[in-house]
Every structure is written in structure tokens, then in C-alpha cells.
Amino acid sequence: MDSIYKSLAEIVGDDHVSNQPEELYIYSYDLGTTEPHRPDYAVAPRTTEEVQEILKLANKEKIPVAPLGGGLSLAGLAVPLRGGIALDLKRMDSIIEVNERARYVVLECGVSQGQLSSYLEKHHPNLRHSEPGAPPQATIAGNIAIHGQGDLAQPYGFNSDMVNGLEVVLPTGEVCRIGSCSVSPSWFTLHPLPDLGLFLGWCGTTGIITKLSLKLYPSKKIKSVEQFVVENEDLVPEIVYKITHTEMADDIVAWSQAIPTFSSGLHHINILMTADSEKELEFKTELFWDDVLAEYIRNGDGGFVALSAAMKAGLTSRPQVSKASDWKKGGGFEYVGAIMPVETYPECYRRGFDISARHDIPYTVLGRIIGRSHAMMFSWTYAFNRADPESIRQAREALHESDELALELGGTIWKPGVYGQKLVMERIEPNTLKLMKKVKELLDPNGIMNPGNWEVS
């Protein structure tokens, strides 16, 4: 028997390791357009100690390790580009502690978004986390490993800004704790110790996050949404600015898409808000309708859609279902997400529209506001037919053009795939790139962690 396989089986048990082609096949691809790459082993540890042992083995044998949460980041980031071990972290799914008063949760890396949401709903209805629009099996750790954003991005920023503490296993097998948890039993703050933010946004190339503490926020009883529509995309940044000035919205998402037909050429701005009473909700709603946006309504430049209670319930339910994969037969889609200044929304829309038209893909764009108009995550989504290589090629080209566009317009690419990473590294300030290389070499001397990603040559 293969000695690596045997060693892995000794660490995690026979049931949690595989080198069988039918199982490895599943780990070879993600939902996007990335070419499949088959790992040599799939391993699913249960504990931090098992992760340590696996990394020690991999480091000694110089075997690549591709960490995997839900595998839903779409840009090929958890695809084992160089083979080796697909490290499936989904079994590490304990919610260890919820501190109701200090509003945080400590959990293992395999806990999924859906799991945390339903746990909080059941046991701590006054608390919520910032849930991304991803399918519910996406993991909390996978999301912060790529600097994701959720439905509280507008007041509180990136999900990785909500991290209160980390436990990580370094590529060489040592366990480190970062934040208050390194000096105290409480995982209540990441600061004020010297900054060791070497794991957030690194896509698993510097180590495995095994536990983390995440800030939670008040969950109010009533969830509501209003939808403001404009035709002129140039109005979107100023409208967003005005809405964020009220500090009354939880989540602001501007979107436009060719399908369904009603939204084509229009910009819907979803304003999600929460309240503990009808009175509080009416106060907020009135502010948006009769004060902040009244002028656009009177001029006829914009208007609120009359949403029924059922429509509101649909728009505020978690998670939201993305139908973009239905735009073409064969059910596939991938998006380029970019972190952009909000003022670039009009240009992002217009140029995205052109890219989609050139590649014969119904256009689908969206901007989620991060912070009080501090930035937005703008996504250009491209549907493709999984069964048609030409359709996949078209989508891939459109994605690459969008990567280039994001940088051209002064933004940065969020969770770029290998193509986008190269574009970023070509433009990044040389000393910054050198620093990245030093960090990477220091932490991962044998280059085993998620190789192919963020490789500084």
C-alpha cells in the first residue's frame, strides 16, 4: 500500500482518507470555469491535532495541500492545482462557544454559514452574523480566508474585519493563536497585540485556520427591505451615499441584469433593514421614502417598487438563491468580484454590459456596499453551459476581461483566480510583492500550501 496513504489513514482513520478515483474526481473541480485537477488523496481531519500531523507529513514529504471548506469560492481557489492532498475541513464543525453579552462565537473551521445561522436562530435569537449570499454549506473559515462580505457589510465591513481571534496550524505543523485568545481564555478581541494578520485573505497559502472567533451583531425581530429603481446608472453612487448617510440600512445591494426582462437596463437598489418594532421600521422606511430619496421620486428619476409582504419575505430570507446558472442551458456560472470605489459603479456596469454582449452572455452585475460607501464588491457574473466547451471558453474570456477591467478602473480583484492573481502581482508595488514573498517563504518554506495560488516568482 502507498505509504503516504497509510500514514494519512493512521492520522484520520480509514474512513476519512481516500485515494479512489471516483472520490478524488469530486475534489478535482469546483463550480466555475477552472480546469479540473485531480488530487492524489482526499483527507478529512476532525481535530487541530490531526491537521497538525497531516501538515507535518506533507511538509516532510513536500506534498501539496489544498484546504477545502465548502468549495464554493468559484475561482478555482480550492482546486488542488498541483495535486497532492485535498484537505476537506468540513468535519471540524463544532460551535464551541457563544458569548451572548460580548457578542462573539468561537467555532471550528468547518462550521458552515447555514449551520451558524440556524444555531443562532435557535439558541441565541438576539444575535446574528454577517452571512454571505453564498449557498449555506459555505464555511465561515473559507469565507474569511478570502475576505468575504455578508449581509452586514454595509455597517461593519468585510467579514474578515469581524474576526476576534484565530487558531492556525502553520505549514510546518505548529499551532498558533492570534488575538486575545493567545493570552487569555477569552476570544473577545483581535487587537491590541502586534498585528499578525498573515492568514486572512491568503486563500490557505500560509496555513490552516482551525478555529476562529467571529463577532456577532444584534438580530432584530423584523426584517424588511425596500427596492429603489433608477434607469440612469450615474445616479447610483450619490443615492448610495445618501442612503449610507442615514446609517439605517443593514445591507445595500445595487444590481442590474438582462434576465428576468424587467430588470434589464435598470438598477435596483435593495435596502435591507431590521427593526424591533413596527414603529422603528416605519421611522426608517419613512426616512428613505419621504426624505432621503423623495426628490428622485418627485422628479420621476427613481421610485420604490411596491413590494408585498411575501416579496419582502423572499428578499430578506437567508440564503438568497442565485438563478444566474439558469441563464444558459447547462447550469454554470462564475463571477469576477472586485473591490471597487462606489463611484465606479456606472463604468463597471457599462463596461460589464459590453463584455457580456461581446461574449453573448446575458449581463448580470451587482454591487454590494461595504462600509458607509467606503467600497463596494462589484461582481460581473457570466453564465455558461457546462456541457459546451465553447460556452465555457467564452465565459472564461469574459472573466479574464473583467479581471483586467477591475484593475483598469482603479479597483482590486477580490478572491482572484490564478489569472487575476498574476494581473495583481504584475501591478503590485515591488516592495510589497517582496514582503509577500518573504512572509510566504518564512511560513511555508517548502511551498506546500495551496500551491499555484499567490506564487511570487
Binding site: T261, L266, R298, G303, S308
Partner: protein, 348 residues
């Protein structure tokens, strides 16, 4: 192009000008009504064009068979005085564009019922009341091929209705039927009132759902157990286009033993407010809220146990609010099913 057949001589001879003096949303005396009507007829600006909430009611108030509301909407479009902000008009107009393939024209046997743009409500057409009825437009992907388009009266876009309606009529006519029952008042109003008013031929006879239900209940009379319930009927705006069929509401209620006494009935009915909310004139959100709360309060005061709907848009707008007040929302067809001992399709 199709032209509205509006007879201005009737207005010249009209003493009451009921169309505007009865308006629930504007306080207009006869003299003002005459002046403003004249302006509207002449294609001039009038405050009525700005203040109209598009409740459709003046179509019913005019007892001369003229079409004041259709005329108001034509003028709103010509003079570019839409009640609704432009992006919402574009949105609304685009909603009606079919984009998921052509409809299958199935072979049908009369009686035939068209669900129009409410294919997803096919579950309401079950049980004995609908035995032997063939349905048209049961596929949500292609239902916009059966969309009557009359909604655009709220959007100051009669041009869109006139452009699309002949194609819709052609699609329905391909089923080769003499009569079509329409699930929604709005479709019925389109084919019975609007199309003839603008000179569009309708090669089939539209039947109002309530007329069909009433006749069917008559056939099943022996199976009716009086419900002995108090109900409130939510009259939709489009029913103003078929006031000659309104009596079927009471006929049905009498037949199945429900009591529907309340203030806001008949001509005095209040609209659901769904469309008012979107309008651009200042204060429309509050106006809609006021209309809705008066309406629901009236239902509560009347002791209504059920609120009876025909229009899915009214249902979407009001069902949640009436339910909060302890009044169960129900479609008319379901109410009728209840009376013959069946479980309503909507109570799932």
C-alpha cells in the same frame, strides 16, 4: 393605430359629470369637473391628470358609456404626465415581455378558462366547480403570452396595450374557442371593455369568472351548505370596467350564505392601494397607507371573518395586513369551494 372611441358630445350634454365629481381622491364640484373634462378632451393639461391615482372608478361612474378613465390615461401619455416615476414604468413595461419560449397551443374543449398571467395560481381551479374545464396558460414560463396588458393603464402607457394586445388575442384565439372564462377581472375588462373601446376585435366571448362560478354553483345547489360567515369583498380596480357583472358577487354570497355588509362596497369600494404606493406625487405612500387602514378598519368593524379576493395583486398587497387583524384572506373561487364542502386550494 387603434383610437379610443370617446364621444365628447356625451360630455357636452352631461349635467352631472359623475366621472370626476364622484372621484374618491379629488374633491371636485360639477363646474370644475366640466371645465377640467373639457381641458382633458381638448388635450390640454389639467390637475386631474396629475392627481389621478388611476383607481379606474370613473369608468364606472360615467353612466353614459363614455370612457373618462381611458381618456385620462391617453392624455397622461400624450402630455408626458405619468403618475409613476419613469424607471418604474420601464420596469413594468418590461415585465410583460415574454422571454422563455413560445406557448404550446394545446387542444382544448369548452368550457375554457384562461389564467392569464397567473399560471402559478392554477391550484385554485380544482374541485367540482372546475370539473371539465380546460385551462389556458398554466406554464409560468410562457404565461406572458397571455398577459392582457391592461395593467399599463396605471403607467400612462395605452400605447403599449394597443401594440401588444392584438398579439395576445391572436394567441388565445388559436385555441379555436367561442367563449373564454377569465380568471382575473383585469383580463375580462380588457376583452369586454377596453378592446372594444379602442376598436380591437375580440374573436371570442369573454366570460367573467364570477358569472361562471355563480352558474356552476346553481348546478351544484344541492351540495351547498350555507357558510353563515361574515365576509368583506375586496373589489379590485379592474372590476370598475365590468360593473354590469358586479351583482354576481352578491348573487354568489346570497347563494352560499355569507353576509358582506360594510361601508366600502360597490361604487364606494376602496382600492387596495398597491399602485398608489409607487406614484411620484408627494404623500402617496401615506395616502396608500391611509386607504388601506380605512379599508381594513371597515372590514374589522363589519365583523368580517374572511376577506374575499379575486385579484392576485390585491391579494398580494392586503392579505398579510388583513391576516394580522384576524381576517383570513381567501380567493372567491376558494370561498365557493368551501360552500360545497371542499377544502380551499389556497389553504395548503
Amino acid at each position: 393605430m387603434f383610437e379610443l372611441r370617446f364621444d365628447e358630445r356625451k360630455c357636452s350634454a352631461c349635467q352631472t359629470c359623475d366621472c370626476l365629481t364622484k372621484c374618491q381622491y379629488m374633491d371636485i364640484d360639477v363646474d370644475t369637473a366640466k371645465t377640467e373634462m373639457r381641458k382633458i378632451i381638448n388635450g390640454e393639461d389639467s390637475f386631474v391628470l396629475h392627481d389621478c391615482v388611476t383607481c379606474y372608478a370613473c369608468e364606472e361612474y360615467c353612466k353614459m358609456g363614455n370612457h373618462p378613465f381611458y381618456l385620462i390615461v391617453e392624455r397622461q401619455e400624450e402630455l408626458d404626465i405619468p403618475p409613476i416615476p419613469y424607471p418604474l414604468i420601464k420596469r413594468g413595461v418590461q415585465i410583460g415581455i415574454p422571454f422563455r419560449g413560445e406557448p404550446k397551443i394545446e387542444e382544448v374543449k369548452e368550457p375554457v378558462l384562461s389564467l392569464g398571467v397567473f399560471a402559478n395560481l392554477a391550484y385554485l381551479t380544482q374541485g367540482k366547480l372546475f370539473e371539465g374545464v380546460s385551462l389556458i396558460s398554466t406554464d409560468p414560463r410562457t404565461m406572458f403570452h397571455f398577459f392582457c396588458q391592461l395593467m399599463y393603464l396605471h403607467y400612462a402607457r395605452t400605447s403599449v396595450i394597443k401594440e401588444r394586445l392584438p398579439g395576445i388575442i391572436e394567441t388565445i384565439a388559436k385555441h379555436n374557442v367561442k367563449e373564454v372564462i377569465f380568471f382575473h377581472d383585469e383580463c375580462y375588462g380588457t376583452f369586454a371593455s377596453y378592446a372594444p373601446a379602442v376598436g380591437i376585435d375580440v374573436p371570442f366571448k369573454p366570460i367573467h369568472l364570477f358569472e361562471y362560478l355563480y352558474n356552476r354553483l346553481q348546478e351544484l345547489k344541492d351540495e351547498i351548505t350555507p357558510l353563515n360567515l361574515k365576509v368583506a369583498y375586496q373589489r379590485p380596480c379592474s372590476s370598475r370596467l365590468s360593473s354590469d357583472k358586479l351583482h354576481f358577487v352578491n348573487d354568489i354570497f346570497n347563494l352560499i350564505g355569507v353576509d358582506s355588509e360594510r361601508e366600502y362596497v360597490g361604487e364606494n369600494a376602496l382600492c387596495c392601494g398597491g399602485i398608489i404606493v409607487e406614484q411620484k406625487k408627494e404623500g402617496r405612500r401615506q395616502l396608500a397607507a391611509d386607504v388601506q387602514s380605512r379599508n381594513i378598519e371597515d372590514m374589522v368593524n363589519a365583523g368580517a371573518e374572511l376577506c374575499v379576493f379575486n385579484c392576485p395583486a390585491c391579494y398580494d398587497t392586503l392579505s398579510h395586513s388583513v391576516a394580522i387583524k384576524g381576517i383570513n384572506p381567501i380567493y372567491m373561487s376558494d370561498l365557493c369551494r368551501l360552500a360545497i364542502g371542499e377544502k380551499p386550494g389556497g389553504w395548503r
